[in-house]
Symmetry: C2
Subunit: 200 residues, 2 copies
């Protein structure tokens, strides 16, 4: 059986990444990797759904055992991707999606050279502003922070295998589906296929 | 404008490569590169359609000027791919297809690191035999030579970016179309796109 793909998806908030991925996952069965954190669950957060909540000791033991694909520390808490669930799913032939930020993505590319990385960007800063103000739910400060984040993160897009511009949700999702289809062909076990053809 | 792709397609004769490519080109506008040769035109062959027919001196001058992407000598004649037409088309944003054999493909991968290579293989030796005998037009000797060619060339498939098994023409063509779609996204000029987003 062919090993599942490891899809690393990044994109600044406000770029519509969540909506695009929801659209992709309607049409394509993907395993969405749940992050692990040492911070306390917030009201309504469920262990294993929103995050895997673990102790600092458990997290550090996993790091020491090379059990996390990427991790970072924010405000004294660890956040990261546990390796085991990802490997298990991939070995069962399921494609895994990691929705992570640019620093974590760089770590995954380092640790997993066969990862396929996709950066989702808004079509323009003007459009990003229009979307953020249009929602009417975010404070001026949050909006300014999100725009600053795009300025900081967008240059990292050149490190990714693919850059998808979310101009329109349907077509951005379609592009990601095309990437997945082609990468499945690229990641075929060629040696094995060649052997199969020659021996049959 | 985005530079066109350079698609290098190989596959042993009898694998159905021609039929698959015809199907692909029905749905996708591709520039099919015409090879250049120093051999004499055969009855009915048209210069610029079947081959570009050139003199030995012209061919050798082009080689010396780095004007061929790949070339080989068979029976005292040169065969190769002229660089200029390929570059012109790509610079106009058109995807170019080179249908060449495994040795030439290796040269193109060396000369053009951004080439996308696809190997088309028959699903099995048994099926290849069935197809070749089914045609009823080929001599036993030709059929044996074709089978030997598959044995020799198929192991080279592992050097290609993609291996497509031509089990069924429609689905093999569909896979190539998916590869083209994804590679167009991969080959986007990311630096330029990032700049566009940030400045807009």
């Amino acid at each position: 059986m062919q090993k599942g793909l490891l899809l690393v998806i990044s994109g600044p908030s406000g770029c519509g990444k969540g909506t695009v991925l929801k659209e992709v996952m309607k049409k394509q069965n993907l395993y969405y990797s749940i992050s692990m954190t040492t911070r306390q669950p917030r009201e309504g957060e469920v262990d294993g759904v929103h995050y895997h909540f673990v102790s600092k000791e458990q997290f550090e033991t996993l790091i020491a055992q090379n059990g996390v694909l990427e991790h970072a520390e924010y405000c004294g808490n660890y956040y990261g991707t546990p390796r085991e669930a990802v490997e298990t799913m991939r070995n069962e032939g399921k494609d895994v999606i990691l929705e992570i930020e640019v620093v974590g993505a760089a770590q995954v590319r380092e640790n997993c050279p066969d990862a396929v990385s996709i950066f989702i960007a808004p079509p323009s800063i003007a459009e990003l502003k229009r979307r953020l103000y249009g929602r009417g739910t975010e404070s001026e400060e949050t909006i300014q922070e999100r725009i600053a984040q795009v300025d900081r993160e967008l240059p990292c897009a050149v490190q990714y295998d693919y850059l998808v511009i979310n101009d329109e949700v349907e077509s951005a999702a379609e592009e990601i589906l095309q990437i997945i289809a082609a990468e499945r062909i690229r990641h075929r076990n060629k040696e094995e296929k060649v052997k199969e053809v020659l021996e049959s």
